[in-house]
């Protein structure tokens, strides 16, 4: 009885319908917040006393890095749920996360190296934070490569899920790398517990970007999820219903 919502949540036609209906509620606020964050970060926020206007890369770098970790965590949890409870929809969520996460990991690495050049004097250092983020990119690429090696979606789901779950150890390593090791990368910019290290005029555009990127991820995930769910479905009746114009 208490489980009916869970079963309904896991039912593909329900997911397909709900995801479609939810998408605009993520996409439009995401668009508005990202535009607001861009204006806030590029125009309204004051220059940094040490890094001048160069620090403005922060407003795209930090949310991209955040998204790269959030997407991987979502992927690994979904893959784990898919493995344990044999839920098709959970595997579909995991598969949907990978290309989004990979591309934002790439963005985080590129924007980071564009920040590193003027501030550290180099585009790249084999530093704990940078190296573990690069490993994250390889994990995503490995996950997607492994999936594409199978013709059978169900087998691809199970095998790739194992890699995804094992790879999750890298997430805390990335997060704490700047604290555990003496890293070239600067420490946390936003202290979630404790007082922020930035004045509000700099912090607010960043927080707006965080929320904007998170909602953007949600919107992309919902669209991809519908594609993945539909691709796994063989039941003619609901496909016909789902595709009815």
């Amino acid at each position: 009885m208490a489980w009916t919502w869970f079963h309904r949540l896991a039912s593909p036609p329900h997911i397909y319908r709900v995801a479609g209906r939810l998408t605009p509620w993520f996409a439009w606020p995401a668009a508005l917040l990202i535009v607001a964050g861009l204006i806030g970060g590029l125009v309204l926020a004051p220059p940094d006393y040490q890094q001048g206007d160069g620090y403005r890369i922060l407003y795209v770098h930090v949310p991209s890095a955040w998204l790269s970790l959030m997407a991987y965590t979502t992927l690994a949890v979904a893959a784990g749920v898919g493995l344990i409870w044999r839920m098709k929809v959970a595997h579909a969520v995991a598969a949907s996360c990978a290309p989004i996460g990979a591309s934002f990991t790439f963005a985080a690495l590129v924007t980071g190296s564009l920040w590193g050049k003027p501030m550290w004097g180099t585009y790249w250092q084999w530093d704990p934070r940078l190296t573990s983020e690069l490993i994250l990119l390889f994990l995503y690429l490995g996950y997607m490569g492994l999936r594409s090696a199978f013709d059978d979606v169900q087998r691809a789901d199970r095998v790739s899920a194992v890699l995804a779950v094992v790879g999750v150890v890298n997430v805390p390593i990335i997060h704490y790398s700047v604290i555990w090791w003496n890293s070239l990368h600067q420490g946390p910019s936003v202290m979630m517990l404790g007082k922020p290290t930035m004045p509000p005029s700099m912090l607010i555009p960043l927080l707006i970007m965080f929320v904007g990127f998170t909602l953007f991820f949600g919107a992309l995930l919902l669209v991809r999820l519908r594609g993945e769910v539909l691709g796994r479905e063989r039941t003619a009746s609901w496909i016909r219903e789902a595709l009815r114009p």
């Binding site: 125009v43 403005r56 890369i57 564009l114």
Partner: protein, 53 residues
């Protein structure tokens, strides 16, 4: 002009924003393509598979 110059950091700031925006745009295109492709394939399966439920 001062805005475009980004305090001398223009060669780093603008490419960083450009890369991020391109990644966002590509993500929108890719996600929509996936859904469109899945719809087309599902329709094709329907027309081949007939009426199994």
């Amino acid at each position: 002009m001062a805005f475009l110059d980004m305090g001398g950091y223009w060669a780093y700031v603008w490419p960083a924003y450009a890369v991020t925006l391109v990644v966002m745009a590509l993500n929108i295109i890719w996600a929509r393509q996936l859904l469109k492709r899945s719809r087309k394939e599902a329709l094709r399966r329907l027309s081949i598979g007939g009426n199994q439920t």
